[in-house]
Symmetry: D2
Subunit: 359 residues, 4 copies
């Protein structure tokens, strides 16, 4: 597998959907950072199932810190967080044992792990492992905030026919406002209705999120393999369901001219700024000091309540089956804290590389 992200900081996530626990070890965080465990729990809660509009599986996601925090502050050693798995209804999976769920990793797991992976709930492929990512991201965020203040928020730019494509991240982004919303977009009622409709139809739906982070200083990141885009995309594409990542104007760049897309520099209150921010706050892989803006495309949840026809590996023939279990009609809403956590990790990693463990 590849459960360790090895950069300036090291993040290791672990666990299986129906195993004893999931969690993470985060190493490279400076000593002396005050950690508010409630803030970690709040982020975990944003991700956790059992929220309105999401899967009915309810997990308390009770985090236990096993190391790295002493008297409320980081020790400089690895921080370990563990969440016991509860409420895992493995019996839902018995009915479909050996049946390759469409668009799930059941087949690739079989080829890669020769059938030894825990099949229940997706095992080590489960989205539940992103709980570790969220916990780590919250710690990274708190460490970052000890150095400077910033805002982070995400909103839905597309879901089915719903679209906010003409939205302008540069001038209007109200990151904090979106950060507080359960359904972060201009028209939450429409989106809520859409998701409810999809759920009733036993279907699922994909979408696209845009995230902006305001207040990050210029100069973080590196050209080439450790560009902010490279670091962030590596983390984002490790989130189950993410199928696209773009920065700044993203997709729109394909239709633009240089004369439209360029971000000229100007002087603003003695500071060098860019007049526009088509590049989403990153040039040459390094932050410009403008808002970091990126989009994440998420595919429709693969588990749907309809009957589907797929291969049963015991019979080596196709069978129609219905996945019981509890499914999210749309994982977009639960993905928000995971995506923001990835951003916090990527930025903190770049910050630490530039300023050092001792800053």
């Amino acid at each position: 597998m590849s459960s360790t992200w090895h950069s300036f900081i090291d993040l290791t996530i672990f666990g299986e959907s129906h195993g004893p626990a999931v969690g993470m070890v985060l190493d490279g965080i400076e000593a002396g950072i005050k950690i508010d465990e409630d803030r970690i729990r709040h982020e975990l809660k944003r991700r956790s199932p059992g929220q309105a509009l999401t899967s009915a599986r309810k997990e308390d996601d009770e985090l236990e810190i096993l190391s790295g925090i002493y008297q409320g502050k980081t020790t400089g050693g690895p921080i370990t967080g563990m969440i016991r798995n509860q409420n895992a209804r493995s019996e839902d999976y018995d009915a479909i044992a050996g049946w390759l769920r469409p668009s799930h990793a059941d087949y690739t797991s079989l080829v890669k792990y020769h059938g030894f992976a825990d099949p229940r709930g997706g095992g080590q492929f489960s989205g539940r492992l992103t709980a570790g990512l969220v916990a780590a991201g919250s710690i990274a965020e708190q460490a970052l905030r000890s150095h400077f203040d910033f805002s982070v928020g995400s909103h839905i730019v597309k879901m089915g026919l719903y679209s906010e494509e003409n939205w302008n991240a540069e001038n209007l982004f109200e990151a904090e406002k979106y950060h507080q919303m359960n359904v972060p977009c201009a028209d939450p009622d429409t989106v809520r209705d859409l998701i409810e409709k999809v759920r009733e139809e036993k279907d699922s739906i994909g979408g696209k999120l845009e995230t902006a982070i305001l207040g990050i200083p210029a100069g973080l990141g590196d050209p080439f393999f450790d560009s902010i885009e490279s670091r962030l995309s590596q983390l984002l594409f490790s989130i189950p369901g993410v199928k696209g990542v773009s920065f700044g104007e993203g997709e729109k760049f394909a239709g633009m001219r240089g004369s439209e897309a360029n971000d000229p520099y100007f002087m603003s209150q003695g500071q060098i700024r860019t007049r526009t921010n088509h590049n989403g706050g990153i040039l040459g892989g390094i932050t410009t000091g403008e808002a970091i803006v990126f989009q994440t495309v998420i595919k429709p949840t693969s588990s749907i309540g309809m009957a589907q026809t797929s291969v049963d590996i015991h019979l080596m023939e196709e069978k129609e089956k219905t996945i019981a279990g509890r499914h999210d009609p749309c994982i977009l809403l639960r993905a928000v804290p995971v995506i923001e956590a990835a951003a916090m990790l990527a930025i903190y990693d770049a910050y630490q590389k530039d300023t050092g463990f001792h800053d």
Copy 2:
């Protein structure tokens, strides 16, 4: 900087646009692989300036192998390739010294490297460093082909108003045909005219490429941080100008239902396959054996021939200037071999991790 990609294989790229040389060191390639240096040179030529429709700067890009190949075969040691820089017209940059070129890394370089980076031609940020990526990718491709055969090709799906969005990668992709075309798309004349028009207008244009690789076995890659998507996106986003990466249906997933987007498994000639390939040949971060399909969005070349207003750091005020030099009106065509090289490296890396150095 971050010029080493450290995975199962290690790739280090080096050089500056107007320095003595650019090149790469590639380590982790098995011993005994027959390397055709002409094939590397052919790929370098595809990337090199001076081709029709691209920058007028002409570089022979003459590759010299410094290590790792003995009697035409890999030794198992690091392979080093060097390309001397020639024909660098540094004087083009004198006129704009200290003037922050819009959408270039001139400002971020200044913040990061305190003004010590070589400013000529973008220095270590230059797209010219991708020559090392191309050379490494060609070696990875030759190593991969010693194990199994496959096809790789890319085509333009969007450029300005030109669009092939309805193209179907699953059934129709003719990778090899596109691989032979200078302007790989359904209507090369229209695209050629578009690029010429942009050049005449002293402007530039962005675009979107789709790449498909057919014949890659199932089971390569890992869930989470070393997913095929994560490895590939890290490499792709290190290419200057790349601002978006997506897989399979990519952007379209945001408008799809699970019932449309799912790829059910079926039996085909005794093999497990998927009926559709919306996921672009990757599930759970691991190859399914279907075509690997991904899209890359490239922004318009930042250097354009028009006058632009930006900050002069010597005066700390805005000045209108025109970038002389030789610019590509569209780097899309030259990006094709770089993108394909990144794909070869990501896939070979995953293959080697699974089968080992000794396979």
Copy 3:
């Protein structure tokens, strides 16, 4: 900190001496390896305090596997093991709070972590973290044994005036026998008496171990930075108290001529072997197929029962104090399973790199 060893496999250790738990996450182990948890517990018991001749602190070191093993076999995902801390008498440390224990990391911790590290029992510097190393090593050993059989054993070559320096690893090593002994050496009674005497004198003593591994195939490892010596020494020097590592003849090489020290090749039953094994089974960083032989020098336990004079950082002056707590007069015996675990990890790592995850 640096709690992740990132090579072909990734090992992350975590915990603090008096925190909630210590443990490890081991990633990169093939799927389907049968894991006998009792064998892990047996190795942990060899390392644990409360054995004869060691510290009186008694820990059950009850291991809980949190992930990566399903139905008794590895899943291919990260394997997480956790051991709750118990029986931590933190009050022993209250009396010396702020007093820099001689030859401990108390001062370097202060400089590095600005006083935020958990001071109790050495915090993240504690030898207790090697429990994670031992658990990981046992898993690596079991994975290795699924591929080929081998023997591993260690014995004391020096402790104070006791010496077995003339012992010949090449011909006489009886690895398995030593593996079974609590005091692995030619004269256990003498060594036992020595340790008892040191304990009575409230002092401690250092020593030197030699480890041999027989049955490892030729060809594992790499020249330069991933030589078997480099991998193994990186792991060995991460064990608290280890101050020297040498291979084959080790120290004796400094007094030898090439004509004595060279290992000529000869044919033995159709196989290429070396007549002697002065190099300890490694040439050019790669295994020769002969016994892998190395020595580890361990300093006397820094915590001794005598009064010592050192700096009190609250007063910023010297104070005489006595460290209460429970100390090992000699950590050599408890170091044996840790050193062998490091060897298993280094060899398995090299084996996996050569044969691949899928072997």
Copy 4:
């Protein structure tokens, strides 16, 4: 192979003994460091053959910087140095083609690289690759000296029967003096005579060096896998011929009591220091601010001028042959700059990790 050392800084070495060139790419060096190329050349000259008492092969080792230095200062990008191979008498190796030189990696290379490695002069196993290490070390040293001043020196503590074992690093080390000496020890004439005698006898001899670095600040390094000992030993054991590494009292710890070996802290001019430095300036993997002291054991050069009997792989039987070529009777003297370079890299790496790229 494993030609990249991947830590905070990345060092990649490349080349083969008789190939076109050897060299290195060093990434992660801050921008703006003034680099004196003559100092690099001076260090290369210390290592190069053709010096008195060493191999008669004469290489000018003319370094060419290919990237990373602009107007005499580091750009922040990867620094590439290349040295063309000259004066390679490959014909010396023709006579012994297929004959496995005793104690060389000829056999392990065969197993690992299936006979595809360049056999001439040891190919990628050649000690000549350490030229890249020396160049990189000199750059690291110059970068370090831009932050603080320090002294580094090495001397011979043992060679055959010659011994300076009672020498006291703590009080007497005169690092700078040794740094200037060709034969750094208390009695250079005796050592010179010894080496000459060994050469006349067509034999070789091993030895042990001790290196001390004075002036390194406290707080560098990390516990466990990135301890200063771990970092340094990984680099030292990548040097061909190194078979032992120890720190502080090193071997002597095995005979010591805690009451003798402990380093109590005391106040000296308002600073916390240790009264003794048995631990060689490192506790818990982190520098104490005292002199960093370590020993390196080097085996006798494997190539000797005497006839030896070993296996000829073409015949698969033993043959007596004599290695012509030009051999060092003792590589200890040439190893000094390589060992010091490794130390500079390990310390700079730790320094950068703590203070950041931007310091």
